[in-house]
């Protein structure tokens, strides 16, 4: 399956942290043709295995997404929201959202007072969770019979193909990286590899990387490769916080194994794949943080797909960077063998 077709479909499936079943089932089916076995764990991680006799490698990217839940239904039928993960409330005014009610998906509008009726003091303040609400366009009684506190609310799913192979959609964080794993899994089906490969689409990353934690315990991998998004260049960003949008980024730092990172750089060079380097002096803010200290420890590498406007409904990425990421990962994993064990800490 081509990455764009996969992304168009998978980003439209709700998978807000803690409620990822639908997304997990879709992803499991996407991996199935390229896997020896696919399982969905109790917390909704998807584990797709390509068997090998060599070292066990866990490759992970998270399938959950930031979103919202209904926290209260007001007397007039408006919904109040609680965010799940780091949603910036300033992106919400005027947004169409999808409310997953007991009778199916319904459209809601994130409402605000119109500009005509705002007082001056209100115009200079940002909207916060206290001032935003969802308008379902129906009387309070109807809302109450349809919507329950705790129901999932997602950004509207859109996909815009931009110039120069770039595209904008919701949930590139981190299904863009699931797409990279899928791309690599397809390639590896036609390549020789010694390693026992587990492509894990993890759950619950956005509230604390819990999927990586439990999947790592279950699989007990020898090595890990985590995939997440990082920030692409944007005006006004602080120094050293962003990367170019057009290629993947390998992280260096104490949480990551220097040998595994060096191998990544070599693989990129050998195959003519552009690769940037970023430095994470401590926490990486990704599944790598948890997976690296699972059980007796897992040496890790971390690759990132640079995106603009992270944690919004318009996350923007470069399709070429994504597909090249799949190629890099495939070539990298095809080289893993027993000899790596001795080189790890030399």
């Amino acid at each position: 399956m081509k990455a764009e077709a996969f992304l168009r479909e998978v980003t439209a499936i709700p998978g807000v942290t803690g409620n990822e079943r639908a997304a997990a089932e879709y992803i499991a089916e996407a991996f199935r043709p390229f896997s020896d076995e696919v399982t969905i764990t109790p917390l909704n991680c998807v584990v797709a295995r390509q068997k090998g006799d060599g070292p066990k490698v866990e490759i992970c990217a998270h399938l959950d997404e930031i979103g919202m839940m209904v926290s209260k239904i007001e007397d007039d039928g408006c919904l109040r929201l609680e965010c799940v993960g780091g949603v910036d409330p300033r992106v919400l005014p005027g947004m169409r959202v999808r409310v997953y009610t007991k009778e199916g998906v319904r459209l809601g509008i994130v409402g605000t007072a119109p500009i005509h009726l705002q007082r001056v003091a209100e115009k200079t303040k940002n909207y916060s969770w206290d001032t935003l609400f969802v308008d379902m366009g129906m009387p309070a009684d109807s809302v109450r019979s349809l919507v329950r506190v705790g129901d999932t609310v997602c950004f509207e799913a859109r996909y815009a193909a931009l110039k120069n192979g770039r595209a904008a959609t919701k949930t590139v964080d981190d299904r863009g990286c699931v797409a990279i794993m899928l791309e690599a899994a397809q390639r590896l089906r036609h390549m020789e590899h010694k390693a026992d490969l587990y492509f894990v689409s993890t759950c619950q990353e956005e509230i604390g990387c819990y999927g990586a934690l439990v999947s790592g315990f279950g699989l007990a991998p020898d090595y890990g490769v985590a995939f997440d998004v990082c920030h692409a260049d944007t005006p006004g960003a602080p120094p050293n916080s962003t990367s170019k949008i057009d290629s993947l980024v390998a992280s260096k730092g104490p949480f990551l194994n220097p040998f595994l990172v060096k191998k990544l750089e070599e693989t990129a060079k050998d195959n003519g794949i552009a690769l940037q380097v970023a430095v994470d002096p401590r926490y990486t803010g990704t599944d790598a943080d948890e997976l690296s200290i699972t059980r007796s420890g897992v040496p890790m590498a971390l690759l990132s797909l640079p995106i603009k406007y992270m944690h919004t409904n318009v996350e923007t990425f470069d399709m070429h960077a994504l597909t090249e990421g799949g190629r890099l990962l495939a070539h990298y994993l095809a080289q893993v063998d027993e000899s790596w064990e001795d080189a790890l800490w030399t």
Binding site: M95, I115, H116, N126, K308, T316
Partner: protein, 339 residues
Amino acid sequence: MDLKTLCELNGASGDEGAVRRAILDAARPLCDSVRIDRMGNVIAFQKGRKGDRRLLFSAHMDEIGFIILDATEDGLLQFRPVGDIDSRQAVSKYVLVGEKRIPGVIGALAIHLQSDEQYGHVLDYDGLYIDIGAKNRDDALADCPKGSYAYFDSGYEEFGDGFAVSKALDSRTGCCTMLRMMEKQYDADVTYAFTAQKQVGMRGSSGAAFDAQADDAIVLDCAPAADIRGVDKALKACEAGMGIAVSFMDRASIANAGLYKELMDLAQALGIPHQARRDTAGLSDAASYQRTKGGMRTCVLSVPCRYMHGPSSVIKLSDVQAQYALADAFADARKPLHK
């Protein structure tokens, strides 16, 4: 022409071409004459069976939008609103730019990269830009030259209990009502004015009013529905779903008292859902008709509209029906009820 089709056309003030063409095509078979005037308004005229009254109905066909100022060296388009759009409504929206309708998104610095101080500030148009994926300034301006218009890429959808959401309900609802009225012939001579450039200061209607040959002008517009959270109770002016809002006054015009009473009485007598608009916020084309040349009797019939001037304004469809019903009844009325 249905409301969905009308709303999904793009036509910000000064860029009404697509809307103008669609309205011309729809109006021609139904009217005695249809012309484009000096200001870009579409003026359609239908001779009455008796010609005993001369009426004018008017709705603006333009909408709010954006215009491209320039591009940064890294290829991001800088822009400003055409008409009043709260910049807070623009963050993270999908847009279409220029004649080629190039897809883009309105970006801003990610939440993770903002300082506490930045987070406290409203993102204004200096901090927002449109990203079409361009690599540099030349690449961006090649497809979207300076002066290109941009639009929220947000279609028309019906939802909830008879509500609809779109970017351009203000005032394609009025255009829709007039196109529907044209299907009938009245006793009165009726002029239908589809005006340009209302959102930048009622400029189209000033020309339309100068040429108008009518005694009464009924303006069909939208009014901010203040039935929503976040609006002071004192400002609650009209409510979506409670019928057509009849204005005694707005920021730029004052209704003829007799005409206002006539419309209210007519709605009452015929059981047309209606409400007095209890507030004067906003401007309307009535200003032009009221006091150009010798002046006309004017009154505004507004569809209450939530979240106006954003990507997702909301109306109740029954209010559009009520707007049609009252405008139609007024055009049908044999003689004025009040002077």
